[in-house]
């Protein structure tokens, strides 16, 4: 799986997760999202529940669209200091690495 594909997947998942949201600020931020967009911590787009939901949606999409069946939950995924949920770039890199690992 390529980095760009993972980035698009994340942005798609974020947009799909907006279906019932009425938070205009959040809708605008997600529609403008790019690889540097902060996801979690500081002024990130998501709270902890939002991260859990995104993670689950991404697992679903990876299976449906790329036939990659993995669990994105790991000790390092959920750790605050090394979390790949810092921004879209770090998460996309993490997904690419996890997909590679699953192949081996």
């Amino acid at each position: 799986m390529k980095y760009k594909e993972a980035e698009i997947l994340i942005i798609e998942a974020l947009k799909e997760g907006l279906d019932s949201s009425s938070d205009k600020e959040l809708i605008t931020a997600i529609n403008k999202a790019n690889e540097n967009t902060r996801l979690f911590g500081g002024k990130g787009l998501l709270d902890s529940m939002g991260v859990v939901i995104l993670l689950s949606d991404l697992e679903d999409k990876l299976d449906d669209e790329f036939d990659i069946m993995i669990s994105l939950a790991s000790d390092s995924t959920m750790s605050k200091t090394r979390s790949p949920f810092r921004n879209i770039k770090s998460l996309a890199n993490y997904i690419v690495a996890s997909a590679e690992e699953a192949k081996e």
Binding site: I53, S56, D57, D60, D63, A73
Partner: protein, 232 residues
């Protein structure tokens, strides 16, 4: 309604599978081996409940083939009677893996599916009266089930925003393979500590499950109901 029952090949799991099939449910079951339960609305999966990869694959397959799961019954479990001093390390690991890790993995994967499908889900886990009774010879088994109860209480809080309730049943001894190796005097001793001194029936377990899965029970979560008048 789609109900997933782990450990459905025999014992209580088999009884529950047959009962829910009679009621017109679509029943999905699993065990490490094949099942001879043959019914047009039953589908069996071969799965080791403590194997994370197998559990993930099975639940994803169910999501694709059946569109979701409404009720999860985490029935799969193993028991072992032994003095702590003579319990092999491998037995400890096997009991914890099947009884605790298996329950956690199924709760995790099934609740993700329930969340994605926006299902008002029901999860029922299995504990035992051996836990509150602190039975000698059952230290590891009782501990693994105590862990299931604690997990149920925390999961109830984490899953509540997802409209999923998580509860637990604590059966007394019931005539199944699980207790066939337990000496009669040990069983009698256990029955004597119950308020109602008889072996449990599979129907007693079903009765509690019916209560937990009822539409009216959407305000009941994080609870453990013991059979026979046992309490913590």
């Amino acid at each position: 309604m789609r109900i997933l029952i782990t450990g459905s090949r025999k014992g209580i799991g088999r009884f529950l599978a047959e009962t829910f099939l009679e009621r017109g449910y679509k029943v999905l079951g699993c065990s490490r081996g094949d099942s001879d339960l043959d019914h047009e609305f039953y589908q069996h999966y071969k799965c080791d409940v403590s194997n994370e990869t197998e559990v993930i694959k099975m639940i994803r397959l169910i999501g694709k083939n059946h569109g979701g799961i409404d009720i999860l019954i985490n029935n799969a479990g193993i028991a072992s009677m032994n003095h702590i001093l003579s319990t092999p390390g491998n037995t400890i690991k096997k009991l914890m893996d099947t009884n605790f890790t298996g329950t956690v993995l199924f709760c995790r994967e099934v609740s993700k599916l329930m969340m994605r499908k926006k299902t008002k889900g029901r999860i029922i886990n299995f504990s035992t009266v051996a836990s509150p009774l602190n039975l000698e010879g059952e230290a590891i088994y009782a501990s693994s089930k105590a862990a299931v109860q604690k997990f149920t209480q925390v999961a109830a809080k984490e899953f509540a925003p997802l409209n999923i309730t998580v509860n637990c049943i604590g059966p007394t001894p019931i005539k199944t393979d699980l207790i066939k190796a337990v000496p009669k005097d040990k069983i009698d001793l256990l029955l004597n500590s119950q308020a109602i001194k008889r072996l449990g029936l599979k129907e007693d377990v079903l009765n509690v499950i019916d209560f937990f899965v009822s539409n009216k029970s959407d305000f009941i979560t994080g609870q453990t109901i013991y059979l026979g008048g046992i309490h913590d």
